[in-house]
């Protein structure tokens, strides 16, 4: 009897680990394939069929071409601007909103909260948003990917929840010392909320780094394309319809297969490199968010 159970549990354990190992391999292999392919000698790679378990030869030529490509460098520069300026705007706006809405005894706060949260559930739609962005003169500017997305309501709620958890006594004593709201926000609330600020920076930064759709709609000038739009041209433009694809099919790069993979690595490495170090902040964000649920 006792022995039986031991065997059953061991079998159970074996099955658990097997499924997990399969999941890990399935998750990781496509990424490794991309990495191997990017270092391969392109002639060997093109004739190779099937799986890849190591780079075929070793050639940094693909990376050289990628890093020499002016489109990618420009894209990197534009994305860098969008991420830094965008996250700054996001943080300032979200912190302002979260601070005010986390104060107690403010008559209009409930109404403002309803006003803001409603936008999570109903939207005017893509076309009206486009018309507004056009109307305020942001079209074809990098700011079109920043200003219209200055606050994420979901993040605002997370930050507000976190601000509400700060003990009132701290602020009360500051108030008695004559501190105004700006001082309380900058000297007390923000320093005490560093974990949630970190979560916000990461959420917003990943969002900005990965964003492509609105840039593809709002930005026409090729010199202003963020990295993801350049990537789309290189990786998929020929198989999807887009605003720009047809227009300059001629001067789209004629890129070899390995260069494609090197591009993916160059564009993804920064995020995946930082990610293991900041993973716990992301997880924390999900937890704070789910508390509010």
């Amino acid at each position: 009897m006792k022995r039986d159970k031991g065997i059953a549990d061991r079998l159970f354990e074996f099955i658990i680990y097997s499924i997990l190992v399969v999941m890990i391999v399935v998750t990781l292999y496509p990424l490794l394939y991309v990495l191997f392919a990017s270092f391969s000698v392109s002639g060997e790679f093109i004739t190779h069929k099937g799986f890849l378990w190591r780079p075929l030869g070793f050639d940094l030529g693909a990376y050289e071409s990628v890093l020499r490509n002016s489109g990618i460098l420009l894209g990197y520069r534009n994305t860098f601007f969008i991420v830094t300026a965008g996250v700054t705007v996001n943080l300032i706006m979200t912190a302002l909103g979260a601070y005010v809405l986390s104060r107690k005894n403010v008559l209009w706060n409930n109404a403002i909260m309803v006003f803001i949260v409603f936008t999570m559930f109903f939207s005017g739609g893509l076309i009206p948003i486009y018309l507004i962005v056009k109307g305020v003169g942001l079209l074809d500017s990098l700011w079109s990917t920043i200003i219209p997305f200055a606050v994420s309501t979901f993040n605002l709620i997370i930050m507000r929840t976190s601000f509400m958890g700060i003990p009132d006594s701290l602020e009360e004593s500051a108030k008695i010392d004559g501190a105004n709201h700006a001082t309380i926000l900058l000297r007390i609330v923000l320093p005490l909320s560093m974990p949630v600020i970190a979560v916000m920076i990461l959420y917003y930064a990943v969002d900005k780094w990965n964003g492509w759709f609105y840039a593809s709609v709002f930005i026409r000038t090729r010199e202003l394309y963020p990295l993801q739009l350049i990537l789309r041209e290189i990786l998929i433009a020929n198989s999807t319809d887009s605003l720009s694809a047809g227009a300059d099919a001629g001067d789209r790069f004629q890129l070899g297969e390995t260069i494609k993979y090197a591009t993916i690595v160059v564009a993804t490495a920064p995020i995946l490199f930082i990610y293991p170090f900041v993973q716990r902040f992301f997880v924390k964000g999900v937890m704070i968010g789910s508390l509010k649920g």
């Binding site: 059953a8 159970f12 354990e13 658990i16 680990y17 999941m23 890990i24 399935v26 998750t27 496509p30 990424l31 991309v34 069929k49 099937g50 799986f51 890849l52 302002l96 909103g97 005010v100 986390s102 107690k104 005894n105 403010v106 008559l107 209009w108 706060n109 909260m113 006003f115 803001i116 936008t119 559930f121 109903f122 005017g124 739609g125 893509l126 076309i127 009206p128 948003i129 018309l131 305020v136 200003i147 709201h181 990965n210 492509w212 990537l231 990786l235 998929i236 198989s239 319809d241 887009s242 993916i264 993804t268 995946l272 990610y275 293991p276 992301f282 997880v283 999900v286 937890m287 649920g293």
Partner: protein
């Protein structure tokens, strides 16, 4: 929600304390707070509420020259056109089917993963499994779709693999019948780890004594998982499920428009991608806004219904 009542003695109101209107008193105390939130309010008015107003072009024949206000009214013409068009049933069917397939196959995956990870005793293995399965979530959609396109191309690695099992080797994204499987499977690949976090969090709050008791009763690990762990996260599963139901008609266009092409429209084109194409690529502003508005209203209705059910069944709701 913060209590909006003003407690007496918080601050000295201007004028006669008894007679002062509470709005004026509140404003006197909180005027700097209101000043601080003005930029946020302006943002919401301009970029969320103005577009909602802008949606009236769905009832007009919008012309860029005349503007939103100046364009002529068209009544429900665009809605009729849409409901009577060949596309209506197609994109409605595609939206619902892609949603349902995702619900059926992608929704349970993170629950399963969380249960599996919970059974792992080795801390190092657990950490590795989590770190690796979360990773794809942070890769940009453009790159993911680039990889999908490449792997399923006629000489791509997935395509090659399937040829061993008798697949004819055509580029898989050119086949309408394969679009939905590719979409759903890649969703699982990208999201399973990330979405498991919430279940793993719920698992941690299960009372350890229950396992203790089960062990004494001689329950196997599998039985413990089935009868303690799974019921323990059932409330979380229910909430997530209801949220999903509320989003049934809400298939995002970003991934669709990166993966589809005219050959696969018949299975791939959903409401949001249709709105995008008709509006921004073919400049049917009003028609496209009508379709978008139709979708927004359905989404809102579904969400309210789902929330209502959740409140009834689960005693938990979004608002």
């Amino acid at each position: 929600m913060a209590n909006a009542r003003i407690e007496p003695g918080m601050a000295r109101p201007a004028g006669d304390p008894k007679r002062t209107n509470r709005f004026a008193r509140d404003f006197a105390i909180n005027k700097y707070l209101y000043l601080m939130i003005i930029p946020v309010l302006v943002y919401y008015v301009v970029f969320h509420y103005a577009p909602m107003y802008g949606a009236v072009i769905a009832f007009k024949n919008y012309s860029p020259v005349k503007g939103i206000l100046g364009s002529d009214w068209a009544g429900l013409k665009h809605f009729y056109d849409f409901f009577n068009s060949y596309y209506f049933l197609r994109i409605l069917k595609n939206t619902i089917l892609i949603s349902l397939y995702t619900l059926l196959f992608e929704f349970p995956a993170p629950i399963l993963l969380a249960l599996l990870i919970n059974e792992v005793r080795s801390k190092a293995f657990k950490r590795t499994a989590q770190t690796i399965t979360y990773m794809p979530y942070f890769i940009s959609l453009v790159v993911i779709c680039g990889i999908i396109t490449d792997f399923t191309n006629s000489d791509g690695v997935i395509n090659r693999l399937f040829m061993l099992f008798g697949y004819d080797g055509q580029a898989m994204l050119q086949k309408p019948e394969l679009f939905r499987p590719i979409y759903v499977l890649s969703e699982i690949w990208q999201r399973v780890g990330w979405e498991s976090i919430i279940y793993i969090a719920a698992l941690m709050s299960i009372d350890m004594e229950q396992y203790e008791a089960a062990r004494i009763d001689g329950a196997s690990r599998f039985k413990q998982m089935l009868y303690i762990t799974l019921p323990g996260i059932l409330p979380t599963i229910a909430i997530m499920l209801i949220l999903r139901m509320g989003n049934l008609m809400n298939v995002g266009f970003e991934k669709i428009i990166l993966l589809y092409n005219p050959v696969t429209y018949e299975t791939a084109d959903v409401i949001s991608s249709f709105v995008y194409r008709k509006g921004l690529l073919e400049f049917g502003w009003s028609y496209s806004s009508a379709v978008g508005l139709f979708n927004s209203v359905i989404n809102l209705a579904l969400l309210i219904t789902a929330n209502w059910i959740s409140r009834r069944v689960n005693n938990s709701s979004l608002w």
